[in-house]
């Protein structure tokens, strides 16, 4: 099994979710994060003092999926989440040793 961890623009979550759902993937976990990369951040002014906010709101989407689906899913996400502007985000993948469905105790690919 592989975990696919994507850092996305907040506005893209719904689209990515729908796209992978259509592909047949339903389990996922979403976290609110802030981050920076090439994207430069923005300036906010409070009572005349400027602040540059350099960590911007992003969404972290994690899915654990069977290894054989990884290539296809990566393609889907990349396509859907891309706007071509700086700040589109990253995808990281790594191997998971095991997965357990708490409800049933099922293990491995059964569980995800």
């Amino acid at each position: 099994m592989t975990k696919i961890e994507c850092i996305l623009r907040p506005g893209k979550l719904e689209d990515v979710k729908e796209a992978v759902n259509k592909y047949g993937i339903h389990g996922m976990t979403v976290t609110q994060v802030i981050g920076c990369g090439l994207q430069k951040g923005r300036t906010e002014v409070y009572r005349g003092a400027e602040y540059s906010i350099n960590l911007l709101p992003k969404i972290k989407l994690e899915m654990v999926i069977p290894d054989e689906d990884v290539a296809e899913v990566l393609k889907i996400i990349t396509n859907v989440a891309r706007t071509g502007e700086i700040g589109d985000g990253k995808i990281f993948t790594y191997k998971i040793d095991n997965a357990i469905r708490i409800r049933t105790g099922e293990k491995g690919d059964e569980a995800i």
């Binding site: 802030i34 002014v45 003092a49 602040y51 906010i53």
Partner: protein
């Protein structure tokens, strides 16, 4: 599509220019010769009432609408109300009051005799309020002029650019609110002469703001993502707080419209409160039946619907009539918002039309049904008290205010859009109007990291100027 609109424009223009002419303009305004003595009790009441109405817009409406917005648009929504307060207060002092209440010109508008509050002094003006200082009446009315355009903002929230809003605000107040206020409340205004009943502004405030909201949300188009992305209230406690402050302030709005602390004021107070409770109840019950749960948002929305509906009627109806008006208002507005809007698929973001347009129209009509001179001898009887004619008069008032709101708002928005783009781009909406229009976040608790800019660091050498001295 546009054809339909232009035809509409023509028809309505005709209606609302012809009817005033028909209004037999008998100038016999029945002001008895009253002694011009200020009553401390009445003055106290009206000044406090003015403060209460101020509270309705800020923070009342700002919170009510702000809570309904998404987190990225809270401030922008608040700013619509905030700037209605700021800008219209000044506009009113400069010329708005004069246009609305100044000496009548052809039953359509006030003259500019009171420009810059000239002749609006500390003595009572017996035409409007014989027992309180004239400037107390002026400032009480100012708060009405402020809240009306603020109400509209619920319809186009989360997508109107701030500069365009400012332009719209001033034009709308000048060309729509001020004249209509004159028609209904100004001495010799044509609707007043006609005998239209509007105790505290069902027509003037709610119909025209609600209907203008409908026009505005159609002209601006739906928000990016409307119908696919969910757009949920980001803080219902704020919305409840806002609704509660509206309710509280509305006692000033409605009872204060008696312009004195007397039996009529008490009667308006009671009617207001009962209609509000009844409407909240009926909204919640309707949705409970319809959707299976009684919601907090329903209670808050229903309360506002009841307040809107009782506004024109509160000084003319008995308590039990108020309960009935409220019960119908709650259900009607729920259907407008929950069914009609979904059917017609316009994007009235926070339901300015569904609540103020629909509730205000029902209230203006209900006044024609339930009014009784037993409560207010200066009013008239309504249909249920043997005077069907009053319904006709109310319908004329309703139709003409709908007409002026539709035509006027449409024209103003189109004109503004030529000079200043009305609608935030899709990207601006995506990022949220708070950041794109105002450069601020409402809540920064999770923006843990940021650093100050060079403008500051350039001064770092002199950073020894101020130090702890202990």
């Amino acid at each position: 599509m546009t054809k339909v609109y232009s035809r509409l424009v023509m028809i309505l223009t005709t209606i609302f220019t012809v009817i005033p002419a028909l209004a037999w303009a008998d100038d016999e305004t029945a002001e008895a010769v009253v002694e011009n003595t200020i009553s401390a009790g009445d003055t106290s009441f009206v000044l406090i009432a003015a403060a209460l109405v101020m509270l309705m817009t800020l923070p009342g409406l700002a919170l009510f609408y702000g809570g309904l917005s998404r987190k990225k648009n809270v401030l922008s929504t608040i700013m619509y109300s905030f700037f209605a307060m700021i800008v219209i207060s000044i506009q009113w002092a400069l010329y708005g009051y004069s246009l609305s209440f100044g000496p009548d010109v052809h039953h359509i508008i006030g003259s500019l005799d009171w420009i810059g509050l000239k002749n609006v002094g500390l003595d009572p003006n017996p035409d409007y309020s014989a027992t309180i200082p004239h400037n107390a009446f002026m400032v009480f009315q100012m708060m009405f002029a402020v809240i009306t355009p603020a109400l509209i903002s619920g319809a186009f929230a989360e997508r109107m650019r701030f500069p365009a809003f400012l332009a719209f605000l001033v034009l709308w107040a000048t060309f729509i609110y001020d004249p209509v206020a004159h028609w209904v409340w100004g001495v010799n205004g044509w609707l007043r002469n006609l005998g239209a009943l509007d105790f505290a502004g069902g027509t003037v405030v709610h119909i025209i703001s609600g209907v203008s909201g409908l026009v505005a949300c159609i002209v601006l188009g739906k928000r990016k993502g409307h119908g696919s992305v969910p757009m949920l209230p980001h803080s219902l406690p704020f919305t409840v707080m806002g609704a509660a402050l509206l309710w509280f302030g509305w006692f000033g709005f409605n009872a204060g419209s008696a312009l004195g602390a007397n039996g009529l004021a008490a009667s308006a107070f009671v009617a207001t409160h009962l209609a509000t409770a009844a409407a909240a109840l009926s909204w919640v019950v309707t949705e409970w039946i319809h959707h299976g749960k009684p919601t907090t948002l329903g209670a808050a929305s229903g309360a506002v619907a009841g307040l809107v509906a009782i506004t024109p009627a509160c000084g003319f109806v008995e308590p039990m009539s108020a309960i009935i008006i409220g019960l119908i208002a709650g259900a009607a507005c729920y259907l407008a918002v929950g069914v009609l809007k979904a059917k017609l698929r316009y994007d009235d973001s926070l339901d300015a039309f569904g609540v103020h347009g629909v509730g205000g129209t029902w209230g203006a009509l209900a006044t024609g049904l339930f009014a009784t001179t037993a409560v207010n001898p200066a009013g008239s009887d309504g249909l249920f008290y043997g005077n069907p004619e009053q319904v006709v008069i109310q319908l004329i008032a309703i139709a003409s205010s709908w007409a002026v709101a539709i035509v006027g708002t449409y024209i103003i928005l189109k004109v503004v859009n030529v000079f200043i783009k009305l609608r935030a781009t899709d990207e601006e909406q995506e990022s949220g109007l708070d950041i794109t229009q105002h450069g601020e976040d409402a809540y920064t608790d999770f923006v843990l990291s940021a650093s100050m800019n060079s403008g500051f660091s350039g001064l770092k050498e002199s950073s020894t100027v101020v130090k702890p001295m202990m």
